[in-house]
């Protein structure tokens, strides 16, 4: 890579939990964004609060980037473990800044005693500021910029604190000013290209763009951050966020709120979703709209609580006893997260069925640059009725049989229409019956929504779909897959991809048309060990994947891993 052609570099800062890695990350990300670069970064941490090993890894580029890179140009190691674990990732011409000296010196490695410098200011707590300044200094940022950033980061803190941080930064900045590094992107800045955003925020913004008014949850990584954003906005919007005693309560609160007329959602991870499956069925038989976000992490059971996975696809589609219609979406970008959350709310309410949004720790915790502003529509279309919309409100039937399967939904205690709802099989008026004809009519009613629901599903995003090798992906792997496709094409391979966001009801017809050519090599790329999407595809279309590229170690895909695996599969 040479600075005058284009910029695409990766910086990684590693240390123990509690060393303030995330603050360093925030500073670096903000600086790069302000300097006009595209960025994306992953947060990698263990299921503990202090100690252990965690890192922030950011890619900086002058072109949009949607996936992490496997090689590191600049490594800042606040502890020894970071060096040991990641030294192999260092580019041949990359450099590393270490707190702890190495046994055998290397010309790529420089020493900076972050904590010693910090203590000069008064406390080792300033180590992270020192480290951030070290990084920015090496990348060529001006000290003024760094000082500005610190004022922004610590806005609201005492002036004294801000000044001490600026001093700490100065020490770090100066400590490395003699290091010559081939990449100095800050020498070539431009206007900011957009806004920094995590996936969790995009989902939360999607919820408020949907006029979500009640969010109930039980804390669970990696879903909690979505609720945390919402909780911060409750005093600015008609929105209540309630922490439930468990996930069962959370989903039932959401059902109750929705029944009473508020759009409502919950967010959890697989283990919590298990506990919500009975509620999912309740939403289905009572035809009460709900939105559930399942932020996936590796399982089974507790698994790897703070890591990423795509292991809940088939579970989400089949969860809860007996058959019923539902929606399942899986966004692959910030914009998709924002828009699919709105789609989930709208369609869940329009069809009176539950909607599930599958994201994962990578998607939720990673930060990306949002190039285009989110737009908030002036009006949110609601699909409820009141007395005025009803011919005979006094004899209102909540489950009136209609050609579309959707019955007018009135809200309790808002008029003369009495709303009668039961989780037992029920008549049109909502009361229980075990009658055979009624049972058949009600199952058919619910099922009859499916054709319309399928028509709402968007086509998968297709990149070179006519290629001989087609990679299939869904949800968060979209960025890595696209980059690997471009990479492989640059190497002369005829590769394309189909990236799915609208997963259920499965858009069978659309997919078949894309994959019907029998000589195609179809490869499903997933973050699970079972090739779940591959199975779904076969079940729905009869099409078998030729190969599967599966990663289930809890870390997101690097494009190179997909590229290597494709080449490997091609050989066989």
């Amino acid at each position: 890579m040479s600075t005058h052609t284009n910029i695409d570099m990766t910086i990684k800062i590693g240390g123990a939990a509690g060393q303030g890695i995330q603050t360093i990350g925030n500073l670096l990300a903000r600086a790069c964004r302000d300097a006009g670069f595209y960025i994306m970064a992953i947060n990698d941490f263990e299921s503990r609060v202090r100690g252990g090993h965690s890192f922030f890894q950011m890619r900086i580029s002058d072109k949009p980037v949607y996936a992490p890179h496997h090689r590191i140009d600049l490594l800042i190691a606040l502890n020894r473990e970071t060096w040991d674990l990641h030294k192999d990732q260092l580019q041949d011409d990359g450099i590393a800044i270490l707190e702890v000296p190495l046994d055998s010196p290397s010309k790529q490695v420089f020493e900076v005693e972050f904590s010693t410098l910090a203590k000069e200011i008064g406390s080792s707590l300033y180590s992270n500021t020192v480290a951030a300044a070290v990084g920015l200094s090496i990348l060529g940022a001006s000290f003024d910029k760094i000082a500005d950033l610190l004022s922004w980061q610590f806005a609201g803190k005492k002036e004294d604190i801000i000044q001490k941080n600026i001093k700490a930064a100065r020490l770090g900045y100066d400590a490395v000013k003699d290091i010559q590094f081939s990449r100095q992107p800050f020498l070539k800045t431009s206007n900011p290209k957009g806004q920094i955003m995590e996936g969790s925020r995009a989902i939360a913004l999607g919820a408020i763009a949907s006029d979500c008014r009640v969010a109930a949850f039980y804390p669970m990584s990696p879903a909690t951050s979505i609720m945390q954003h919402l909780a911060g906005w409750t005093n600015r919007l008609p929105l209540v966020v309630e922490q439930a005693e468990d996930e069962i309560a959370a989903v039932n609160m959401v059902i109750g709120a929705s029944f009473a007329g508020a759009r409502a959602m919950t967010a959890t991870s697989g283990g919590g979703f298990c506990l919500m499956t009975e509620g999912l069925g309740l939403s289905a038989i009572t035809e009460t709209p709900i939105v559930i976000v399942d932020a996936q992490r590796p399982g089974p059971a507790t698994g790897l609580p703070t890591r990423t996975a795509q292991g809940d696809l088939l579970f989400a589609i089949h969860a809860s006893q007996d058959d019923f219609p539902r929606f399942v979406f899986a966004p692959g970008s910030l914009l998709e997260a924002f828009e699919l959350t709105q789609k989930a709310f709208a369609l869940s309410e329009k069809y009176q069925v539950p909607a599930i949004i599958l994201v994962d720790q990578y998607m939720v915790d990673a930060i990306f640059l949002l190039e285009h502003s989110f737009t908030f529509s002036k009006k949110v279309e609601r699909f409820t009725v009141g007395d005025k919309d009803l011919k005979d409100p006094k004899n209102y039937n909540r489950y009136e049989l209609t050609p579309s399967g959707v019955s007018p939904r009135a809200l309790p205690c808002t008029g003369a229409a009495r709303v009668i709802v039961s989780s037992d099989e029920h008549r049109e008026d909502g009361h229980i019956t075990e009658d055979i004809d009624n049972r058949n009519a009600m199952v058919n009613k619910r099922k009859s929504k499916l054709p319309d629901m399928i028509r709402e599903m968007s086509v998968p995003q297709a990149l070179y779909p006519e290629a001989k090798i087609v990679l299939l992906g869904w949800g968060s792997t979209s960025g890595s897959i696209k980059e690997s496709v471009e990479g492989l094409r640059n190497e002369g391979m005829d590769v394309g991809c189909l990236l799915f966001t609208d997963l259920w009801p499965f858009p069978t017809a659309i997919v078949e048309s894309h994959l019907k050519d029998p000589v195609k090599i179809i490869i499903t790329v997933e973050q699970n060990s079972g090739a779940q999407f591959g199975h779904l595809l076969k079940e729905q279309t009869g099409i078998s994947c030729t190969h599967a590229i599966l990663k289930y170690d809890g870390r997101p895909f690097y494009p190179i891993e997909i590229m290597d695996a494709v080449k490997e599969k091609e050989k066989h």
Binding site: M197, R201, L205, I208, A209, D211, R213, V214, A216, H229, W233, T234, N235, R236, L237, P238, L239, V240, E242, A244, E245, D246, I248, A249, N252, M253, V254, I255, G256, A257, S258, F259, A260, G261, A262, A264, E278, G279, L282, T286, F374, F376, S377, K378, V380, L411, P412, C413, G415, A416, A417, R418, V419, I420, V421, S422, S423, D424, H431, I432
Partner: protein, 282 residues
Amino acid sequence: MLTPKDFNSDYQNQWCPGCGNFGILEAMKDALATQGIPPEKILIISGIGQAAKTPHFLNCNMFHSLHGRALPLALGAKLANHDLKIIVNSGDGDCYGEGGNHFIHAIRRNTDLTLLVHNNQVYGLTKGQASPTSGLGMTTALQPDGVISEPFNGPAVALSLGAGFVARGFSGNKEHLSSLIQKGMDHKGVSLIDIMQPCVSFNKINTFEWYKERVYETDNPEPDDLPQAMKLSMEWGDAIPIGIFYQTKKQDFTSRIKGLEKGPLIFRNYDPQEANSIFQGS
């Protein structure tokens, strides 16, 4: 003027003849009529069980939900629209067994609703297994050697959790029960009324006669005397008190939520501008 008949449902009753639930149903109609709230302004939420079928036999708005889950559902509804007047009909299994965790936390929250626990000391709808309130030694097909777990005392537990309104009623004393329900409905916050209810089909120990011989009416002379309330709640055996064991004023849950000061959520307007400014500022 409303009368109990105004709450009659066209839907055919499904309980066993002689079931104690009829007394509760009648007391509810009486209480609702006296309160003067028309049926379309009332929301009844229930779980699953014989008790939980109650709302089908009234003509109010209703949500007959999942076994054990009435309380979180009720809270959700209340968050969306805190003007709702909510009654919950639950069974001893529904509320203290499957729903035990929600019971605890509903009391911690002090959600404004009236909680009627039809306590027949047995699982009625599933045909006679022991419930959390079944007496020690009671034998059933599933407990052939008799119950060996201590019975769950709803009122005592509620008191230990800081409940603001705790009462015990008897389905065989309709007038008294109606007045308890009314006082419960008047109370702002969660009001627990644990109602002793004979199950003629499966509970051959705690029969109508059994209760009749033991029950006596009393109220805590100083309603907010907690130790005395605790004592009343634990009185069981030859004499069993019914009445209000404890009452004190506490702010109810939705009144404590800042964001609800401007009125029920469902009546407020969507605010895309504010949403957008949140986006811009983030």
